[in-house]
Amino acid sequence: MDVPFELVRIVIAILALAAFVGVNAVILVWVERKAAGFIQRRPGPYEVGPQGLLQTVADAAKLVGKQLFTPAGADPVLFWLAPLLAFLPIFVLLLPMPFGPTATGMEVNLGLLLILAFAGLNVLSLCLAGWGSNNKWSLLGAARAVSQAVAYEIPLLLSVLAIAFMSGGMDLSAIVREQGGWPWQWNLVLQPVAFIIYFVAAIAETNRAPFDLPEAESELTAGFHTEYSGMGFGLFFLAEYAEMIVVCGVAAALFLGGWRGPFGTDGWWWFLAKLYALLLSMIWFRWTYPRIRFDQLLVLNWKWLMPLAMINLLVTAFIMKL
């Protein structure tokens, strides 16, 4: 039997990515809790494992052990479809991610498009979760999630497009290769506005504070995942962190030169370092700012980010044409 090489590669890549996502989510949750602890001048997780490193694993084990509870009046199919739908697309999102010069799950020349397209699925899952749980708070959360995600997709796309215009393609690996190893050779220098817009929109897309409105704890109890127990909640949780990795990974590749490093030290280590630097700043934002209000969120998007991204794109196109 003749198995196409490409298929084998994808299967291996998905397995590797599953491990990558699992390990990184665990580390990331720990990093977040530790960082939050240090910012608030307390130790953070401490008991399980050295410096509490295994705390997330213990929490995951606890979540797995919990009863999966379907609330009365909920639509069981939609209700349980939602967490799966939130989690599974993550692997596809990571496939075209250029971790290193050769370490890419699948080199597609439309990699960027693939990521952006599948990232949209997340909205559907939040929507189903909110609708399926037959809870008014969840419903409000879902409504927020949808309008927020749809709105912020646009500046996100526009800022990414500006980069695509410059490199003339949507292949992430190619975009990385075009940038140099030194910070002044990064796209960040050429496209600072696009970077800021991308990052703000990415925080909003992943529902992170200060844009965590769909799950605004003090307003909507827990928003769309109010009714989820056990691993149902766990999958949403995992998906949130995995998505953070994706958006920050894309940002690192597009703006920060991906795996390129100075003195020819190219390699996945640079990618990971840049990725975690971005993740840390996301965590930093979360533990510093209060939550924005919903109408302000949309105002920020439609009145500021959108026009700015638009202008930025036009200017880029104009300069590229010259």
């Binding site: 960082a35 602890g37 240090f38 910012i39 608030q40 001048r41 307390r42 130790p43 401490y46 930093w284 934002f285 533990w287 510093t288 700012y289 302000q296 105002v299």
Partner: protein
Amino acid sequence: MSAPTSITEKITRLWSLIVGLKVTGKYFTKPQVTLHYPRKTLDDENLLTYRGHIELVGLPKKPGTPKCISCGMCQAVCPSNCITLTKRKPPKPTEAEKKAMEEAEARGEKVKKPSAPKDPASFNLDYTLCSLCGCCVENCPVESIRFSNDIYLAGTDPNAFRYDLLQRLKEQAAAKPGAQKAQAASGGETGEGEA
């Protein structure tokens, strides 16, 4: 959000976000202010002023016996009815004594009946009801009650907080006779006496 009017105002507004990051960033690197209980605990200076549940104070000479004279004041004054104490019954005279007493009475002499020992037969505290108000401590005529500083209390059963204070006093006296004596000597009216 009121629309920012001028460019400078917009910039100061955005700058405020950076200032916030600076503050949290600064504290990120500062040492922690929490104590890692149970590996570390607070120093005594902070613990000894804490008023936990009440306990009995022993006699300076006999630390296992409370100073209490069973007057019942604490029981009556407690707003939450958490103290139950019973007095001792007078000891039953033996046959010979009884006889002697009867004879004496018949002779028309004044008889001194044996009085009950002053210390209580039982002294129970239901800490689940106590409001730690201090009424009992302040009103004990012989200063036989004081606040303990048992700060690390935890239990899964309400019965764990129904104390037999006499028992507790005996145990304390047995555990550290020297310390108990010192405490009894310095034990003032309220818990701060020990601080």
